[in-house]
Symmetry: C2
Subunit: 204 residues, 2 copies
């Protein structure tokens, strides 16, 4: 039996560029993990393909999936459901392959509760890092803008606490490179490879 | 004040190639961490330079350092002391730079006790991974050799439990690349970067 694969979860605040980073990541030549396509009840936009961008299903179908415990995580935004079907994720992990999810922060917290050994990556907006520089040396006439930014940043920071890694999305190729390092490195964790070494000797 | 640097410890069983991997790592063009040269009481070998390969000191000097609590870790092998002076490590970490140690397993366990947030990398010999293949399909006339290998491997596995990462030294450039990914990834840990984000907002 293959060792169960690793689940990697990319999330972050709305508008941080999760989808862009995920697409760029899967265009890399050396990707050796699987993308789990999300399911939604919203209508496909121009150019979106069923099974590629999303699995497009009816509201009834989605709610039936929820009822039957067939969703790893889900959430409702603006009257539409978005979520991750459990079956594909489980089958892929069981086959020994790693699975990559790109989901909203609410969904990520549901996965955290169900799959404690998953790897949680939080994508942070560049303005969070630039905030200090922007705040320093500004006049009081901009205090309302500053306050909004600080408030948003503080909210984002508090979400970050529930993740394992913080990846700055200053430039997409840099963010992609950081995520690749995390995946490579997580595969070397003693807690993950120990069973390989043990079974190797146990099977003798 | 700069954020305190990260301490990275490379260790592993005797003869696994720690020194070779460490030297290759520090020949990389993008190294952005400091090597902490070890101190020893053994005589320099041909070509070895004081302050580069080791700090070569007298037995009296080394024992005085131990007495004064000036060693981060140390051990005695075949009548000679080997260890890491605390001062350089502390000063470099305080300046915000990451420090890399390449030390014996006994020393690594001393560092583990003193610096719990250090990163511990265990270098594993390739024969540990090849062991199963070697064991399978061999005749009984080789059982003594097999038993020795198994015994050694079992001992090595039990040491590995105290580390964060296991890096296979099948090929030096691959081992170097794995260690670089680990360092890159560890720097992105939320637990490490959280203070940056917090102080950024606290300083406003």
């Amino acid at each position: 039996m293959a060792k169960r694969g690793m689940l990697i979860v990319l999330s972050g605040p709305s508008g941080v560029g999760k989808g862009t980073v995920r697409k760029a990541l899967f265009e890399e030549p050396d990707v050796d993990f699987e993308y789990s396509t999300s399911m939604t009840t919203r209508k496909p936009r121009d150019g979106e393909k069923n099974g590629v961008d999303y699995y497009f299903v009816s509201k009834e179908q989605f709610e039936e999936n929820i009822q039957n415990g067939e969703m790893l995580e889900y959430a409702k935004y603006v009257d539409n459901y978005y979520g991750t079907p459990l079956k594909y994720v489980n089958e892929t992990l069981e086959s020994g392959k790693d699975v990559f999810l790109e989901i909203e922060v609410n969904g990520a917290m549901q996965v955290r509760a169900n799959v404690p050994d998953a790897v949680f990556v939080f994508l942070t907006p560049p303005d969070l890092m630039e905030l200090k520089h922007r705040l320093v040396g500004r006049g009081t006439d901009k205090m309302d803008v500053i306050n909004k930014r600080v408030k948003k940043a503080v909210g984002e920071i508090s979400m970050m606490r529930n993740y394992d890694y913080a990846v700055l999305n200053d430039k997409v190729p840099l963010a992609v490179d950081r995520i690749k390092s995390i995946i490579k490195s997580e595969r070397l964790k003693v807690a993950r490879v120990m069973p390989d070494y043990e079974s190797m000797l146990g099977d003798k």
